[in-house]
Structure formats: structure tokens, C-alpha cells
């Protein structure tokens, strides 16, 4: 969206192709993290972008569209779109459904901004997600906070207030081929904790981490403030076991103070899930002749050019090229727009693709 808007601001015509029914991607589901002031989570910028994009005269939005074929002809790209699978009834009755029948969009350049999938920790049996009801993820917690219903996470109680966050779930994990930092989970957890403590000062929260990534504008001072009320412990627990009663679980790990094994009991455990590549990208990979990196994200041409790909005229922005948070993605989108504008003759059409 941000690329589309930046390009359209430069006077280019943009077709924005989106697989789901609404714009916004994963981040559109994130909750506001403000407490007594804005926590700079930037989730609200998605709402801004949606209205900016959908009302921009230079942008044609195709939501709920699926790409069936990608062709390259005379230096421009053509993509055939069909209505994405989904409710036929809705598609036929919704007057604004952009892709009712198969259609074709053209563009001189293509920007892929297909985003990411949140890591699903179900297969990491030892962490208990999916079979221990006390274990949840940062994604689920975000949904709960968006609904303004913290009770759904942990009912108010005098003596069940212990919450643990486990960082780097699905990130920095050599065993499972995910040896990369997901960039956003440290900030996400710290903001979530900060918001939860604001709503329920009585919560007793511990964050287990590998290396805290205290990066980005004003985040150091935000971390210093949060640190006053939250326990940060280096080293992530290896296992979450059922506790002595319902509503409690045991974390098994190494105590950094003694170097010995430790067991600590909590009422809730939140897994900070990282970013995983979108496995539905194969059609784009084949269609545009792209490569993926060792983790499955779109590969950029070289280390320094996250934006450019092996295929001329095809660019990347956002987390589809490797984990990045909202502000980083915005920066990449603006940067991609500048590179496309530099390479295009005036008035060229451009297709952007998001998922």
C-alpha cells in the first residue's frame, strides 16, 4: 500500500492487487499499544494507508484477486486476475467487488509486497501451544487487546497474575532453519507488556530473551521505562509443562544467576512468534523468475539492495523480502518508489501486489 501510494504521489498509475478481501495485511489486525502516550507501534498507520490508498485517484485497487498467469510482453508485465476463492454470493452481490470476472492488469514494473505469515508454534510441542490452554502467542494476545478484552487472556484475580513472555519463537532457531532475527518481536513484546501493565498494574511479567534488540527511534527510552516494572531474563526456557493446577504452567530452563536448571510457575505464557515466509508465493516465484533465500523469503539481488531482484523491473518491499517492522517496511516502500520512478519513462503503469 505504501509503495502504491508513494508511486501514485509521483504521478504514476498504479494497480494494487490484493489476495484477501481487505487491504492491510497482517498488521491490520494489530492492536494500538498506547498507554498514557503513543507507544510508536505504528499499527494505526495501516488504517491511514488503507484510506489513502483506496481513495487515491492514481490507484486502482483489486482486492480478493488471485493471479492465474504472469506474462512479460514488450518490456511490460501482464497478470491475469480471477476472483479469489471465497464466498461466491458475496462477490456477486457486493456492488464494489472489483474482480467479478477475470481481468488483466498491466505494468511496466512490479512491486511485490506480499508480507509474511506469523510463525505457527504448534509443531514446537515442548512449548505447549495448542495443547496447553495457558500458552498463547503475541499474535493471539494482539487480537485480544484489539477487542479491548484483556479478561479473555487472563481473568482478573488476586493471585493469578504471573505472565511470562518467551522471545524468539520461530526466530534465531538454527535447528529449524530459521536462523534470522524477526526484527519486530522484541519491540512487540515490550509494547504488549507495557500496555498490559498499564491496564493491570498488578500483573507480574517476565520476558525471557536471547538478545534484546533495542533499536529504532526512541525505543531505548521506551525500554528503560518498561524495565522499571518488568523482569527481563536472559535465556529462553526450553519447555513449558502443565502446572500443579489448571491455570498454571511450569517453565523449565536455566537460571542465569546460578547457571543451574530452574523451574518457574506462571499463569500464562506468551510466545513471541516471529515472521515466516508466505508459502503461497510459489506462483509469483515462478511467474517472475525469482529466487528465494535460504529461509524462503524473496531473495534480493545483493546484500545491499533489499529492494531489487534478479528480474529487471521487479522490486520488493516489506516483510516478503525478510522480516521488517511497519516503519522499516514504509521506508523500503518509499525507497522502492524512488527506484521505480528513476527507471521509468513518465506515465508508465505499475502494478503492485500485496497479500
Amino acid at each position: 500500500m505504501e509503495t502504491a501510494a508513494s508511486l501514485a504521489d509521483l504521478g504514476l498509475k498504479v494497480a494494487l492487487v490484493e489476495r484477501s478481501e481487505t487491504l492491510g495485511g497482517q498488521a491490520a489486525h494489530w492492536a494500538c499499544m498506547a498507554t498514557t502516550s503513543c507507544a510508536k507501534c505504528s499499527a494505526c498507520l495501516i488504517e491511514d494507508s488503507i484510506s489513502r490508498t483506496s481513495l487515491h485517484p492514481g490507484i486502482q485497487v483489486y482486492t480478493h484477486a488471485e493471479i492465474t498467469e504472469i506474462r512479460k510482453e514488450n518490456g511490460h508485465y501482464e497478470m491475469d486476475l480471477v476472483p479469489a476463492r471465497g464466498s461466491m454470493k458475496e462477490r456477486n452481490t457486493h456492488p464494489d467487488w472489483p474482480v467479478k470476472t477475470p481481468t488483466t492488469v498491466q505494468g511496466n514494473s512490479v512491486v511485490l509486497a506480499t508480507g509474511f505469515e506469523p510463525f505457527d508454534p504448534k509443531n514446537q510441542r515442548l512449548l505447549g501451544y495448542g495443547h496447553l490452554p495457558e500458552v498463547t502467542t503475541t499474535k493471539d494476545l494482539d487480537d485480544i487487546l484489539k477487542r479491548d478484552d484483556l479478561d479473555a487472556f487472563l481473568p482478573k484475580s488476586e493471585n493469578a497474575n504471573r505472565v511470562a513472555f518467551i522471545q524468539c519463537v520461530g526466530s534465531r532457531d538454527r535447528k529449524n532453519g530459521r536462523e534470522y532475527c524477526s526484527q519486530f518481536c522484541c519491540k512487540t513484546s515490550i509494547r504488549l507488556v507495557n500496555r498490559m501493565k498499564h491496564l493491570r498494574p498488578e500483573l507480574d511479567v517476565t520476558i525471557y530473551y536471547i538478545d534484546l534488540q533495542i533499536m529504532g527511534k526512541e525505543f531505548r527510552s521506551f525500554y528503560e521505562d518498561t524495565k522499571k516494572n518488568v523482569r527481563f531474563l536472559q535465556g529462553v526456557p526450553a519447555e513449558v509443562r502443565p502446572g500443579s493446577e489448571v491455570g498454571s504452567v511450569k517453565l523449565v530452563g536455566i537460571d542465569p544467576k546460578t547457571g543451574l536448571g530452574m523451574v518457574e510457575e506462571y499463569n500464562r505464557v506468551v510466545l513471541a512468534v516471529g515472521m515466516a515466509p508466505d508459502i503461497r508465493n510459489q506462483k509469483l516465484i515462478d511467474g517472475f523468475g525469482l529466487e528465494t533465500n535460504e529461509f524462503g523469503f524473496f531473495a534480493s539481488k545483493d546484500d545491499s539492495g533489499l529492494i531489487t531482484t534478479q528480474t529487471p523491473g521487479v522490486y520488493l518491499a516489506g516483510a516478503c523480502a525478510g522480516p521488517s517492522d511497519i516503519q522499516q517496511s514504509r521506508l523500503q516502500a518509499m525507497a522502492a518508489a524512488r527506484r521505480i520512478a528513476a527507471g521509468l519513462v513518465n506515465g508508465g503503469a505499475t502494478a503492485s501486489q500485496t497479500a
Binding site: S6, D9, A28, W30, C32, A34, T35, T36, S37, C38, K40, S42, A43, C44, L45, I46, E47, D48, S51, R52, L55, H56, Q60, H94, P95, D96, K146, D148, D149, L150, E179, Y180, C181, Q183, R195, D211, Q213, I214, M215, K217, E218, R220, S221, E224, Q234, P256, G259, D303, S304, L306, G322, S324, R330, L331, Q332, M334, A335, A337, R338, R339
Partner: protein, 665 residues
Amino acid sequence: MDTQRIGIFFGDQQDALSGQLPLDKIVKTLEGDPSLFVTRITKSFENGGRSEIADLCREHDLAAAVFGGPTDQEFFELPLATDGESSTTIPLIRANLLERGAWLGKDESQAVDRVERQLRIAVAKARRARPIPLATRPVNRRVMVIGGNHGAYQSARNLSQAGLQVLLLKTSQPSGCFFPLTDDLEKSVAGDGNIEIRETAELSRIDGQIGDFHVEAILNGKRERFDVGAVVVAIDARVVEDGIAPEGPIVSLRGFMKQQAATKDGGETIAVLLDKNGPERRCAAEASLACAHENVRRGGKSTILFRNMPVYGKNGQKHYDEARAAGVQFLRYDEIEPEFKAEGGKLEATMVDSMVPDRAFKFVIDHLIQPAPVQPRLENPALASILRQPLDREGFLQPGNIRHLPVSSARRGILFAGGCHNDCDPFEVRYESDAVTSQILALLPEAPVSAPLEIVRVDQSKCASCLTCLRLCPHGAIESYLEHKSVTILSSACWECGICAAACPGQAIEHGSLSHDQLDDVLSVATEALGEQKPTLVFACQQSAVPSLNSAGRLGLTIPAEASIVEVPCAGRIDEGAMMDALARGAERVLVMGCHPEVCRSLKGNLLAEKRVNRIRAMLKESGLDPEKVQYHPIANNEPYRLVHILDHVIHPETQPAASAETTN
């Protein structure tokens, strides 16, 4: 009179609401009013509906248009003169019924009344709306870039490649960056005919607006004036080298890197100490890793002592893995900081590894390398006041307001790149200078576009030149001419927040989409009781509360029937008078909903609104009245559930629990 007729246009999208919004009934009521022209457009607003409305307005000679669908536009272009020379706009008022219809709940009779009231509010606004003239302003496509390192050179090169003229002002302050400028970049900028480089400048003033800035700087003791279209501030952060001896076993990271660059081989036994002054900055961590790795490559031995290993950024984890694979040793310390003792020209390090906390171990190194702390520059406060943009929480340039991040500011045309405003590395700076370029290209188009002129304007006959507006404007959009004792609003700089209009003690400033008269008329409609029900007047900020209200509608949440919504461009547009007026006219309560602190697009509109609310509350309390009659509640544009909880609680405090994170003011 025909020319005074107002058009009401329903979008085709209303069909989607059949069953929820009894449009036909509303249309019937409205059509009894001869001053209204009610019709339905066939296309959606963004796909042709806009020009359809414009054509209909022209055809039927309408004075203003009310559109019952989503749009973020308050004015649109409509040439009135046939010779094509002068053009003006027809005011377009948004009634946004699509979502409103949904949130009215299931009770149809209530829904008709309330949709009608929302429409009448829009019509009241439309009747007093004035056409806004359009003008094409010449744009100066020369850009000033300030700074002497990566951010500045990259930006200058990108801007020049994009076809803009660049004036690169190098400041007198030394570079704070760990990474020296590459020869390639330096040469290509120096040899670029579109880039003029001026050395050792000290900024002293920036007047004017995007496309037409006048910058005053002191160059080698002489005051000079430059006319440019935009300004990119791309200086470095301050790297405090004090306290680290230039010679001896303890060396600064920059010193060691210089040494490394000067020689080709010769590895030593070194330790790099990170996180000594809090979490290490991104640039310092990157540089430390690179220099430790290089030392190993040269046959030396490198140990990095750290609390948190930064693996941030695209290549963070990769560089860390590569360094480790090459043989760089990583030791994590926790509470006990490593100690170093001089020992015959070398250093003996004592270190407690966090994994083996019960014993300390010792090793000998040739050099201890310490990255100097990266801090805001000392001249930042002065620079911030020249730029008229406050510093962030940590003293760096550019406030941490996410609406203007990553590279822009609330003052259009003032942009930032590099260490002066952000935690960055050379990789990130490249993106920043790309982003700066695309933003500037959009702001300074080759063919100037016509834009509404003076949406907010000063009535000179009422202006006492007290300069309240100048002090309050967050966008640097007010210029004073002391010699004429007057102020002017710079149209291109103005974001139309209306903070000045609300604050002006003489009511000399008129806001084009919500003037004093318009607000007056809107309040008289919005405070009318519907049956027995006295309304709760909600002043809803268009950047935060309005999108959340609309989302609430889409989600099918029910807004309490008593809420009467008045959209405002920014909470800062509403002054105490308007709040009191709403109460006096019969509103049960007044609720002002704006952004959370630090995220107002106009930086402080929300804070001003809250302050005003608090003043009224204190007054009410003093007079023995209920202070809860007037309330301020911060909300984001993505909090529909919380918004409904707040409204429920404010309107029915006895029965509804408070929304989360509600701090009583």
C-alpha cells in the same frame, strides 16, 4: 435562490446497506426541502463518482455538495469560469453514511432520525461553506541538503539523479559516523554538475514553505540567503570520544578502525566491549562486529564482550554468524561488568560469563576497544528551533511522531536522514536517502499542480498581531510581517488542523472546512434532542475517532443512540467556547475524542484539546456543577471496540463498565 441550493449525493455503495439503512425514507423527508437537490450517483466516489458529482453541481448550479459516502476530501476542483483562467472549488462535505448506517443499531425509527441528523449536520456545514480559490504555485526544484556524510551525500546524489538541483551545505561540525564516506560516493557527488557544494555553513533561519523556502546561513562568517524548495537535514549523531586516550591499550572504536584502514595486515589480540552505556547503538554494533571480524581475518584474536548481541537489520544475524564462524569469540556478561588492568603494556581482562556465573576468568589482550557513546548533537536544540520541529524524547532531531516517520516532519518539505534523527547504519541510510528523494519528488512535481489556496485564512481586519497562532502552529505555516503588523498563513505548509483558528483570541482565523459560523450552525443541529433523548455531543477527530467509528460500523458494533457526532479536522480545532456552547444549547455531555499523546498529526492538537477540556472541568467543579459533563478521551484510528466501550461508559456510567486504559482526567 437557485444558486444557494445544496446537493446531496448518495453513493451507489449504499445498496450494500439495504436492510440496514432505510435510505428511501430519508430521501423522502429530504426531498420535501426545496433548497436541497437529492440524487444518487452511479459510480463509486474514487472511480468516477467524484466527477459525476462535479458535473451535477455544475449542471444544477449547486453551491455545495454533501456526499454520503467515504472520502477524505473536503474540497474538489470545479472550474467556474469558462475562460479557464480562474478556477475555484465547490465545497464538498462528507456525511459518510455508509458506516454510519451500520452503527445505528437495529431500531429503524431511531436510525432514520439519527441518519437524518447526521445529514442535517452536513447540510448545515454546506450552507455556510465558501468556495476556495485554486492556484498554481511555482515550485523551486532546488533542494538544500545539510550535512557532510553518508546521509547527505547519498541524498544529494539521489536527488540529482532524479533531476533536481542540489545545494549541499557542509556543516562545520566533525563527522560522528563510524563509517567513513566511500571515495566513489565522494567523487561522484563532487563531479556532479547538478550539485553545488558549499563548505562550513551554520544554519540560522528557515522561512517560507515547501517549494519556496528561504534559508539563511552563515558561511565563513558571512550571512547568505538561499532560495530552495525543500531542505534535507542529514547530519550525523555526536560520537563522544572524550575519556578515551588516543594512545595506549584502550582505544576508541573509531581510532582502531582508522588504524585498521591504514594497514593491510597485522592482527592483534583484542576485546571489544559493547553495551557499556546501555544497549549498544546499531551503528556502533555493526562497526564493532566488522572490525572484530577483520582482525581475525588478519590473524588476530577477537573477543566481543556484550550483554545483548544486536542482530537487527537485514544482515545483522548474518554478520554475527559469519564473524562467529570466522573465529570471533563472543562472551556475554550480565550484572558484573568486565574489568581491565594494565599489565606490562597489555591489559588483563577479568570477566564473569553469564553462563558460568560462579567464577571469573581472566585473559590478556593487546587492546580493549570501546565504541564511544552515540548521542544527540549539542547543537540539536538550536537546530530544532530553526527547523521549527521539536526534538524527540532522547534529544535527536525530528519528533518521534509516527505519522511523520520515517523521514518527514510536520513541517512539509523539511526532511531527515542519518544519525541526526535515527538509530541507523550505512545500509539504512541508503534507504533513507531513497525515501527522502521519493518524498521530495512528490512534493516538488515538475509540472506544478493547482491546489486550494488559503483553506485557512486570516481576516486582517480582526488580527491584532498577537502571534498566538505563530507560537502554536506545529507546521511552520504562519509567517508574521512585523512591519505590517500582520500574519499570513502559508497554504502549502498548512495541514488545516485548525489549532490556530481555535486559539486566536480575536477569532480572526477562519478554517475553510469548519469556520466559526459553520461550527455554530452545526452545533445548533447536533445538540437538538431527538424525542426525549438529550444528545451527547462527540467532537470526533478525523485522524483518530472518525476512522474508529467507521470501523465500528463495519464490524457491526452498536454506537449508543445518544451520540451525536461532529467531525473535526483535529481535536485542537475545538475551543472552550464551542464546548460550553454545546452544553448551553442542551447537550447532555460533551466528549472530545482525539489522538493519543505524541501521535497527533499536528503534534499537539490533542494536548491542547485535553487542556481546554480540563479547564472547563475545573470551572464546572468550582461552580458546583458536574465536571463529568465535559470529557476528553484519547483514541486511535484502529480502536473500534475501545471506542464503543468508552461511549457506552460515558453515556451510561451507571450500567456500563469503563473501557480499558481509561485514566480519568
